[in-house]
Each structure stands twice: as C-alpha cells, then as structure tokens.
C-alpha cells in the first residue's frame, strides 16, 4: 500500500528533514505519526502526496512509483489520497455542500454522480442538515467534518490527516477520532500526524515515532513517547 525505502529529503536551504526512512504500511491500517515539532513529520507526510520530492530513495503509494512521476501525473496520484489539515482549508464563499462537491467537480466527475456522492458522505459525517450552511456558520468540529467529507468523497484508498485535532477542544477531538475510526473500519488506510498524547494513548493503534528525520520507534499498539 505505502512503501518507502531509504528516503532522504534535503531542502534547498540545506536542512536535512528526512534522514533515511524505510517503512511499510498495509491497506486498512490506522497509523499515528508522532514526534516533537521539527522532527520531520510534516515533510514525511508531504512526501506521500508529492508536495515534496525525495532527494533520494523510493516511494510507492497504491502501486504508483513517486520518484519518477511526471508533473502531469501528480494529479492522478492525488486522487488516491485524501488530505485533511489542522486549519480545514474550506472555501468560505461556498456552502458545505458546494465545498464537498468542489472536490468532485474539479476532477471532472460526471455531474449526475456528484449529488449522490456528496449527500452520502455528508450523511456519514452527520452534516446533511447543514448542507446549505457556510463554513463560518459552523463550529470547528463541524468544519473539520466537512473537510474530512471532502477528503473521502472520491473514495481514496488512503487519507492523510495532519494534526486534524490541533485546533479543536478535547470533546470535539473525540468526535473527529470516532469519524476517522469509522472511515478506517470501511477499509481506508488512515495516517494521522498528531501531538495529542491522550488520543494516542487511548485509541491504541500503530505508532510511528519520528525524531531528527529518522524513525526511532514503530510499535503495533504503541504509546506516545515522552516529549514536552
């Protein structure tokens, strides 16, 4: 599903962000990526959806070889990966429905299928009744659910969430976690970078710990390490 072999990433300013990572993640896994700030979590995630190119090493996602992927093939890679961010990245002038439909429209989905798919996924995140609301009329948790709906509406085999609970209070965070687990139970691989110790230690999943650009721990039912 996801396989990295001896991956290195040096930024043009000389910063060595990833210092030799090899990893294998199977279809349907739920994986936490943890580590202190600046350890390379973000770079690790960006390498997967080809926001960044590795300096060295090979990356395969869902059978697609990333290191010699042509620029014009990148969009087709991204259709296999749903991405969720801490700041939701919703379009403020579009309604909830339009925000989710947008993801399908811009990849040229047949308009006949869009309505059905969007309503299905809004049902899953329990926001069907807010379809006509605008993002600023929603709570943070609701906004994050819209952004998750958008990331999975195209049925990607993988979703990558970069600190999805970073901006949310504990109560709402649990809501989002339940949703991510539900998506994972349907067979979608979930990768989640987080700083939330309570969540990692409560909902026990595989934990990959990154420090100084290296994987220092990888446990099937891991715990959050000791970081400040």
């Amino acid at each position: 599903m996801i396989e990295m072999k001896d991956v290195y990433k040096t930024y043009s300013n000389g910063v060595l962000a990833i210092n030799g990572i090899s990893i294998k993640i199977n279809q349907g896994e739920f994986v936490y990526i943890v580590g202190p700030s600046g350890a390379g979590k973000s770079t690790f995630i960006k390498l997967m959806y080809r926001e960044e190119k590795p300096t060295k090493g090979s990356i395969v996602i869902n059978g697609i070889q990333l290191e010699n992927l042509k620029e014009k093939e990148v969009p087709y890679l991204r259709r296999n990966i749903g991405v969720v961010f801490q700041d939701f990245k919703l379009l403020p002038k579009l309604t909830v429905y339009e925000n989710v439909a947008f993801a399908l429209e811009v990849i040229g989905e047949n308009p006949k299928n869009i309505k059905k798919k969007v309503l299905n996924v809004l049902d899953l995140v329990q926001l069907k009744h807010k379809a006509r609301s605008f993002p600023d009329e929603l709570s943070g948790g609701e906004q994050q659910r819209v952004s998750i709906a958008r990331s999975i509406v195209n049925n990607p085999p993988v979703i990558i969430a970069d600190e999805p609970t970073g901006n949310l209070d504990p109560e709402t965070s649990w809501e989002i976690m339940r949703l991510l687990e539900e998506i994972n139970n349907r067979g979608t691989t979930v990768l989640m970078a987080t700083h939330n110790k309570v969540i990692v230690n409560t909902i026990r999943k595989r934990v990959i710990t990154i420090e100084d650009g290296k994987i220092v721990r990888d446990e099937a039912r891991g715990e959050y390490g000791l970081y400040e």
């Binding site: 259709r79 947008f102 040229g108 958008r150």
Partner: protein, 299 residues
Amino acid sequence: MVFMNKTLGRHLREAVKSLGRNAWMSIASISAVTVTLLLVGTFLVIMMNLNNIASNIEEDVEITVLIDRTADQNAQNQLESKLKNLEKVENVQFSSKDQELEKLIKSFGEKGESFKLFEQDNPLNDVFIVKTKVPEDTPVVAEEIKKMRYVENVQYGEETVKKLFEVVNVSRNIGIVLIIGLVFTAMFLISNTIKITIFARRREIEIMKLVGATNWFIRWPFFLEGLFLGALGAVIPITVLVVSYNSLVNIAVPYIQGSFVELLPFSPFVFQISAILLLIGVLIGIWGSLMSVRKFLKV
C-alpha cells in the same frame, strides 16, 4: 491539453465570474484593448485605402510624348510606328493639340473657360499617349522615347506616384511602432488583471491541486478570462469601424466618383478588418493571461 465538453460550462462560468469580481481591472484591460484596436482599425483602413489609391494611380501612369512642331505627317507616322515597336509598350494613342486643349479646359471646370482664348492660336503640341505593359517600366521607356527624333519632350506622373508611396511607407512605419507599444500595454494590463484573479483564487487553486485537478483544468478559466477581455475589447472598435466606414462610403462616393481616388467597397473590406481586429484582441488576451499563468500559477 484536454478540453472536455462537460467541464466547458464550468470554466466559462468561472471566467465570467472573475471578470465581474475584478470589475475595475477588467474595465481597464478592456479599455486598453479598445484603444489599441481603435488605432489598429483606423490605421488599417487608411493604409489599405492609400495602398489601393496608389496602385490605381500607378496603373494609370501614362507617358505623354510631345511631338515636335516641325514634324510633318510623314515624320509623325514614323514616330508612331517606332513607339509601337518598343518592346515594353502596350499601346500608343494620338491626341491632337485641339483635343489636348479641350481636356485641359475640362480639367479646370468653370475656370477653364479662360483657356478658350487659346482656341484661335493653340500653343499646345500634338501628343502621343503611350502606355507601358508594366507600370514600373514607365521611367525607362520615357527616357528611351526622349532620345527619339521629333520628340520635343516627355511627361509622366513619376513624382506624384513616388511621393504617394513615400507617404504610405512613412505613415505605415509610424503606425506600426505606435501599435506595438499599445499592444504591449494592453497585454501587460490583462496579465495584471489575471494575476489579481489568481491571487484571489489561491485558496481554491491550492485545494484543486490537493484533490487532484489537472493542471489544464486549473488553467482554463484564466485563459478564458484573458480571451474574454481581449474579445470584449474588440466590440467597440468593430462597431465604430462598421458604422463610420459605412457613412464614409455613403458621404464620399458622390464626390469622388469618376476620379482616380476610390474607396474600397464596404463589403468584404469591413468584415475582413473586423475579423482582424477580433483576432488581434483575442491574441492579446490569451498572450496576457499566458504571461500571468506561467509566472504565478505554479502548476
């Protein structure tokens, strides 16, 4: 460069939407294109008509051979056959001094009446009017004829034609420089308008990239926006061209009928120029958006 029909409607909507969103920049760009095309249009109309007139005159150039008064009928016949035998000559026509005087009187209209005094004692020469096969040969043939016996002098409209072509050339060069400057200004304004659109849409563009929209899908609305700006800029110039040329033809034709000055007919001339203006407008628009898209849209 895939352009799927099912997404065309969407791209068009997006392009039109942002025309409205940056209304002032859009108006500025359209005005720049309008001014440019008005100038290009006026320029083309004048140039093409001047060219037409010049070549009409050129075709009418004839050599007037003044026959020496001492020539008798025999000498005159000899001269005529010598002229006819010249390789580059198409035809030779005799015109008596009385006919010449009549022409002169006619060409001055009312004022010509005073020349009637000369009818008793005509100071003019009998002439041969010589036409060459190719207008460009006129000077050479004229020189040759000048050397013949019983030829007093030769006259032809060399200077007039030369001057006319000089005027055409100089004004063409000035016009071209001016127009190139304006075209660049218009392109620059359009590319700035598109840049603002791209900036206003950076969030959408970011999300489009994340969810896997193709680069061409992202670019299309910006191309269409540029194209619209250019095409809209052509509307006023084309309208002005059609209306004003039509009235110009209507007003001018009665006055210039029968003279060598002749306007190109309304159709197809005006439609050709309109098509050229629209094409230039659209090209300016596309070029302008290309500059922005390449620079500011890293897709």
